[in-house]
Subunit: 264 residues, 3 copies
C-alpha cells in the first residue's frame, strides 16, 4: 500500500486503540487518537485488560507511570493481544533511568512487541547499552541508537521507531529516516507518547508494520509542522496540533520527506 | 423552577462536586466544572471518600478506568452519599464491553443512583439488554435505548440521561429530548464524562432531578453549539467550549429546544 | 542573586523536577514545567521513587489524590531527597478537609520540607489551626494565615508560600507579599499545583529558598497577568498562560511588585 492508502484506511476503519499508558498523557493521547480518526479506550484493571486486548484493534503499552496493578494489567493485555494476534506497541518511557520499568520492559521484550517506539536513550537502554538519558529526555542522537534499534528489531521481530530531529524506522532488513519539523512536540508533554498510540492504530490497518510506522510518524510530523507555523508557544501549539491532525488530508503523506537511514 | 433559575442557583451556590472519575478526563472534568461555575474535588482513597461524600454537594461515580482501590472508594462514597442524602450520579462507561465494571455497575444500581448518564449502548447494557457498543463508543441510537432507560428509571428511582444526537432525559413518568448540536463533543475525550459532573452539580441545586438533568444537558449543549461555530478543529473546540461555558448567561436556557420523547 | 538571575539560571539549567502529584493536574503540571524551561518527570512507584529523588534536581510532593501506593512512593521520595540533599516541596492539598492526607502531611512535616506551598486554609490546617476550607477552595484570607505560616517556617525550617489575592512568602525571619493579577488561575484546575512544581525547580537553582520562592511566584504571576489580558475565558487563558510562560524574559522579573508582609 502507499502511505496515503494506509492513512485513508485508518480514517475509514477508525481502529479501537486500547492504551495502557501513563497518567500524564492519558487525556492528550485520547484526544490525539480522536483527532487522527481512531477510537481510544483505556482500562488498567486486571480482569479487564486481557479480554479487552483481544477485541481491540491494537494495544499500546506505555511505561511512563506504572502502578503495581497497571503492570499486572499490562502483562495480561500483552498475553491477550498475542493470543488474539492483535498488534501491540511498547513505549519504554524512561527505561534505563528507573529500575522497575527497566526490568519489566526487558521481560516483556520476550513477548515480541509488534513495534517499539522510544527516544534514542530509551532504545539504547532497552538494548542493554549505556545511555546518557535522565528520564524522558533523550541525551543521545538518533544516529547513535540505530545499531541498537536494528539489534532489537532482529532479536524480537519488532519494528523499532526512534524519535528525534528526524525519526528512524527500522526493521530487521530495512531502515528509513522520516524528516519533519517536530520541534513543537518537544515543548509539550506527551508528544512522543501519543505518537506511540497512533503507531498502534496504524498497525491495525496495515499488513506491513514497517509501513504502518512510517505512516504514523508521517501524519504526526506533518501535523506538527503545520501547527508550529500558526502557533505562538506551547499552549497554542497543542491546540493547533489537534486541529491540524483532524484536518489532515491523507494525500499529504505523498509529500513526506523520507531518506534511507545509515547505521552509526 | 425554570431552567434559567436552576442555572442561576448553580452559579450562585457553586456546588462542590466530588468526582470519582477516570484518569483520562480528570483535568477536563475539573475545568468544565470550574467554567460552569461549580467547584470540583477529587479523592479516590478509601477512608477519605466516605466522609467526603457526606460533606460534598453531589458525587459523581464514573467507571471509566477503575482501580481496585478506586472501586472500594466508590463503594464508600456511595454509602456516604446515601446516608447523608447527597445526590449521586452513575456514569457506566463501557459497561457491557468490560467485565469488572459491568458487575460493579449492576451491583451499585441497588444503591439507587439519583441519576444515570450514559450513551445508548451503555444504558442498554446496564439494563441487561444486548448492545453493539465497543467500549466508549455508542453504536446504538438514543431511540433504541429509551425503553431500557425507562425501565432503569422505574426500577431504581433514578433519572436516566442518554446522550446522542439529541439527549433523552427519562424518569418513571416523564421523558424529554434535549436538542442541541453537540457534535464537537464527540471529537474530544471527556465530552460525556464531564457532562455527568455538571449533572451532579445541578442535582445539588434543584429539588427535581429530572429538571436538573435538563438544565445540565441544556447548558452543556448550548455551550457546545456556540463553541463549534468559532472553532476549526477539536483543539480549538475544547478551548472555546470552556470559554463559552464560562460566559453563558443562564437566560439562554430559555432558548433550549425541548421535545417530548417517544418510546421506541 | 537577583530574581532575574535566578530565572536565567532556571532556563539555562533546566532542572529535572520529579513530581509526585495528583491525577487531575499531571498533564498541566508537566506542560507548565516545560513551558517555564524545566524538565518534568513522574513516577509513583515504590522502588523507583526513592532512587529517582536522589538524582532529580528537586521533588514535588502534592497530596491532591493520593493512592495507598503513591503515599508509599512519597515516603520513599522524601527520604531519598533528604539523604541526597535534594530540595523538596510539600503541597498539602485539601489538608484539614480530608483525613488520610491530613495525617500524612503532619507526619512528613517532620522530614522538613524545603518549601510548603498552599492556600490559606491549607496552611492554617497544616499548622493545627481551624480553617473554613472545603477541599481545594481557600475560604480564609492570606493575611489570616501568615502567623500560621511563620510558625511552620520556624518549626520545620521551611519556606512557606501562601497563595491568594497576593501571595505571601515567609521564612523564619523574612516575609514578603508578591503582587500580581492571578485571578485567571482560579478559573482553571492546577493553578496552584503547578506553581508548586515551578517552586521546586527554582529551589534547584538558588542557594536561598526564600528567593527561589519569590522568583517562582513572580514568573508565574506575571505570565498569568499577561495571559489574562489576551484571553476571553478559562480555555483560552490556559492556552495563553503556557504561551506567556514560555515567552517570558527573565528581565521582566525586575518589574515584580513586592511588599513587606505584616503578621495578622
Amino acid at each position: 500500500m502507499t502511505l496515503t492508502s494506509v492513512a485513508q484506511k485508518y480514517r475509514q476503519q477508525s481502529p479501537l486503540v486500547f492504551c495502557l499508558t501513563n497518567t500524564v498523557v492519558t487525556n492528550f493521547t485520547a484526544n490525539v487518537l480522536l483527532a487522527s480518526g481512531a477510537a481510544p479506550a483505556m482500562t488498567n484493571l486486571p480482569g479487564e485488560a486481557g479480554p479487552f486486548a483481544s477485541v481491540a484493534s491494537a494495544v499500546l503499552v506505555n511505561l511512563g507511570t506504572p502502578s503495581t496493578e497497571q503492570l499486572r494489567a499490562m502483562d495480561e493485555a500483552i498475553h491477550g493481544a498475542n493470543e488474539a494476534g492483535t498488534p501491540w506497541v511498547l513505549d519504554p518511557v524512561a527505561v534505563g533511568a528507573l529500575p522497575v520499568r527497566t526490568d519489566f520492559a526487558r521481560k516483556i521484550l520476550a513477548q515480541r512487541p509488534t513495534l517499539i517506539r522510544g527516544n534514542a536513550s530509551e532504545i539504547l537502554a532497552l538494548s542493554g547499552r549505556s545511555s546518557t538519558g535522565r528520564g524522558v529526555d533523550a541525551k543521545d542522537t538518533v544516529q547513535a541508537a540505530i545499531e541498537a534499534g536494528r539489534e532489537l528489531a532482529t532479536d524480537y521481530g519488532s519494528v523499532v521507531a526512534i524519535s528525534g530531529a528526524a525519526d528512524a524506522i527500522i526493521d530487521a532488513t530495512r531502515s528509513v529516516l522520516v524528516h519533519s519539523n517536530g520541534i513543537g512536540l518537544t515543548g509539550i508533554t506527551g508528544g512522543g507518547c501519543s505518537l506511540g498510540a497512533i503507531c498502534a492504530g496504524m498497525l491495525a490497518v496495515s499488513e506491513d508494520p514497517f509501513e504502518a510506522a512510517i505512516a504514523a510518524h508521517g501524519m504526526y510530523g506533518l501535523a506538527a509542522e503545520k501547527a508550529l507555523a500558526i502557533s505562538r508557544g506551547p499552549g497554542s501549539f497543542a491546540m493547533a496540533f489537534l486541529d491540524e491532525l483532524s484536518a489532515m488530508d491523507p494525500e499529504e503523506l505523498q509529500n513526506l520527506r523520507l531518506e534511507e537511514a545509515n547505521n552509526a
